[in-house]
Point group: C2
């Protein structure tokens, strides 16, 4: 019979989840104490904080491969650090699960969390478990960025050009479980162009771009025919599907010249597309509406 | 009709949750961007990280006053910083809620979260919302401690004396919703005694003390008749009820002399009790078993 969480109990579960965790020299005390203890960032840096959650039936299904659930939970948060051109460092994992959950499923999820963390140099330093009616994984993370090089969402101006990485739409088929957070790409961007605002596309361009524009107090104009569509996807899907986890950013017009060619040399396998520009009138929103709404 | 989360949607909900948040000068970017951005700790400090979660039906009920749910969610995490004699600073809130949840209930919960955060000098710098089948609040927090003054759980030795603050047992009647994390008390302790191990009692002495002893590789001997019982509680309840959120700590024998009298001058309203000592044989566990088990 398949072993469940109720069979082994919390302490034994945690022992299995943390066994063999890889921690780097920044970690002074990892899992096992009331808090994790790590070295502070440099004084020339800023500390960044983010939490994100995946819920069964919302972000994955009962039939999603456990390893890919864990991968997604970790990658979503890393993507938020990419959105600010930051480097992720230390993660805490909260697992809510029904007692009948097979131990094997939880170990699979942690396998995905750990693999993704290792790929991006993130240390899993602690966490929390509780029973609940459905499976939920929350990842909370710290990261750092140079004090002058992190990118906010709200500093763009009218006239700045808008770009997106990769292709948009149709993520549910595969990408929402397999995407690669654009950490390296974002750090390249802040070094090679004046990025005035950036975010990652999690709820879809139709929802996220209005948010970016609103926080800058401007409007935007997009040419729908210029949107980089995932093969087989319509413009409506590119705007509304969500979970692209690509970077959306604004660049001052003069820095946008030459950016596409520099980019294609640095990242020959990843598309970069200029999709439009920001305009002064906040009411100008030349895009079909759409995007993911959590409570509807 | 009562307004629900489905009625107002995620963006409007978040606007109401973050309106008027008090943030101190350490916060460079609070809610509204992909990550929060804060000043780093001093180089002479350590960064501490903790996450904790409260689940409807496990840590509170459908009839618990919303404000007290929020208070508890925040206080539990702060208590973990107390357990290491650290100071909590920045918090992220994850809210999982069914779409039918009344907006008023969520605002009440955030009222409790915010009041507790303000009382302990904690900034709420961001968070995440998602729909789910039951109400769950996860609080992730950073804090700091001087590099040489934080207290681990695993450095005590045989012969060290064991103490607990406050009274144990019967927390479900009231205290689990009204407790005061022992932050100030813990910081006093590291200055006035050599604390060799400390933790907060969340799952009950019967479960938490064996954990502390095991991480130190020692056993323990408790005199059950010396346990400080909440009025009307039995020894079994003091050991097994859980959710005391008092400090359990070990002190080298020579520092334990005089500690009780120094303590009673510093904290005349809060009891401190010597409950026993650590012993060399890890198999010696002189305490009735008990305590909270999450998956059973």
């Amino acid at each position: 019979m398949m072993q469940t969480l109720a069979d082994i109990g919390e302490d034994a579960l945690i022992r299995r989840l943390v066994a063999g965790l890889k921690l780097d020299a920044s970690v002074i005390a990892g899992p096992g104490d009331d808090c994790a203890v790590v070295l502070p960032p440099k004084q020339s840096e800023r500390l960044l904080l983010k939490t994100d959650t995946v819920v069964e039936g919302v972000h994955f299904t009962t039939s999603t491969t456990p390893r890919l659930i864990g991968r997604k939970a970790m990658a979503r948060v890393i993507s938020d650090f990419a959105a600010m051109a930051a480097t992720p460092h230390h993660a805490l994992i909260t697992l809510i699960a029904p007692p009948r959950t097979p131990v094997k499923r939880v170990l699979g999820i942690y396998g995905g969390l750990r693999a993704m963390a290792e790929e991006y140099g993130v240390n899993i330093v602690g966490g929390e478990t509780s029973r609940g009616d459905q499976l939920i994984i929350t990842v909370s993370m710290t990261g750092t960025a140079p004090a002058k090089d992190w990118v906010a969402r709200n500093h763009a101006k009218a006239g700045d050009c808008l770009f997106v990485t990769g292709q948009l739409g149709g993520s549910i088929k595969r990408k929402h479980l397999h995407f690669h957070p654009r950490v390296q790409e974002a750090q390249w961007l802040v070094k090679h162009a004046r990025i005035t605002a950036m975010m990652d596309l999690s709820d879809g361009l139709g929802k996220d771009l209005p948010r970016l524009a609103a926080s800058c107090g401007v409007g935007f104009h997009i040419k729908p025919e210029d949107l980089p569509l995932t093969r087989g996807c319509s413009i409506q899907q590119a705007v509304g599907d969500g979970e692209d986890y690509e970077l959306l950013f604004a660049v001052s017009a003069k820095y946008s010249i030459g950016l596409l060619s520099d980019w294609s040399q640095a990242f020959p396998k990843l598309k970069l597309t200029r999709i439009g520009k920001l305009v002064a009138d906040p009411q100008t929103r030349g895009i079909p509406s759409g995007g993911w709404e959590h409570f509807r």
